[in-house]
């Protein structure tokens, strides 16, 4: 009985720890030195410009954000193409393109399943390559 109690305690504490630390909820994000760092469930570290991210999040509640790392995005025309392409997608509520970091932020309603393959294809249709997609806020 004592062992069962200890096992139950261990399992529940693990679950509570995972809920508080393992998920990549936006409320867990913190910024320092101008960048937002968050350890993701998959072990990757998310890096986005903190001020830019905060500004992006101002008027959107109940959304998840796909942080897309893009190669080859070197000019305004690339950025404009991405904005226009995702602007036609009704599932995307808000878009931000950061030329300096090569990051694209896409906000989706919580009710929407983020289709990473579709995002990758749309980026490819702009002549660019996706190297990473991190979905924040799930």
């Amino acid at each position: 009985m004592k062992n069962l109690f200890l096992l139950g305690l261990l399992v529940s504490s693990s679950v509570i720890y995972a809920e508080h630390h393992g998920q990549h909820g936006m409320e867990n994000m913190h910024s320092h030195e101008g960048h937002l760092h968050n350890e993701m469930i998959n072990g990757k570290t998310l890096k986005v410009d903190a001020q830019r991210f905060d500004k992006f999040m101002v008027d959107i509640d109940n959304h998840v954000v796909a942080v897309v790392s893009v190669q080859g995005m070197v000019c305004d025309f690339c950025a404009r193409g991405i904005e226009k392409t995702f602007g036609k997608d009704k599932r995307v509520s808000k878009i931000d393109v950061d030329l300096a970091s090569g990051k694209v932020l896409l906000a989706f309603s919580m009710a929407v399943d983020v289709d990473e393959a579709d995002i990758t294809q749309k980026i490819l249709n702009n002549g660019l390559n996706t190297t990473d997609i991190q979905v924040v806020g799930k």
Binding site: Q71, G72, V74, D76, F77, C78, R80, D98, N126, L128
Partner: protein, 199 residues
């Protein structure tokens, strides 16, 4: 012969203005005005590997008009975190005279700070054939964010086998959002202005 050379340079110069393939389903409208000719060029990108377009030129000297169809194929593209490199094959043919045609190999490499491009082009018309090579290099004096006014200071040099003379001139490129303006000046060709809008 020199006037013909200048005219030919102007006729096909809009091909080297900016990336000739847009995003999928994207349209690009270009207008060029120089001392010898005015032109309008529209192209559509149905697939990321190629674009098709129509070009309409008016020769200010003879007042003749030259409609043509164009095709651009992306041979190779290399994207990195900081750069993009492209290699294109381009071709065009006159709609009222197929003897007016051109084909070229063009490439560019660009970062947010530096730009370089080259073009090797063979063009033909009634009674002439011309091979022209050009190189353009540029630097952005500052790095703007998306939506800012972007500025490029460039130098372009061209040489063709008709007069075998190299001309080199400064180019100023400004763009913001989907609009671009490019201006160049040479004592022989005077001012040349390109406008481009991508939508």
């Amino acid at each position: 012969m020199n006037i013909l050379t200048i005219l030919l340079c102007l006729l096909w110069s809009s091909a080297s203005l900016a990336r000739p393939i847009s995003y999928v389903d994207g349209h690009t409208l270009m207008a060029n005005s120089g001392p010898m000719a005015d032109s309008i060029y529209w192209h559509y990108t149905p697939n990321i590997n190629y674009s098709v377009g129509l070009d309409y030129q008016r020769d200010k000297v003879s007042n003749e008009r030259f409609p043509s169809a164009r095709f651009t194929y992306l041979i190779n593209r290399k994207n990195t975190d900081q750069s993009q490199r492209n290699l294109y094959f381009k071709a065009g043919v006159g709609l009222n005279n197929i003897n007016n045609h051109f084909y070229s190999l063009a490439g560019d490499w660009e970062t947010r700070r530096l730009f370089s491009s080259f073009s090797a082009e063979k063009s033909s018309g009634i009674g002439y054939d011309m091979f022209q090579q050009s190189i353009k290099v540029g630097v952005a004096p500052y790095l703007g964010d998306y939506g800012d006014l972007h500025t490029w200071l460039m130098v372009e040099t061209k040489k063709n086998d008709l007069d075998n003379e190299r001309i080199t001139y400064p180019v100023l490129r400004l763009f913001k959002g989907g609009a671009l303006i490019e201006m160049s000046y040479h004592k022989k060709t005077k001012w040349d202005v390109h406008l481009m809008y991508r939508f």
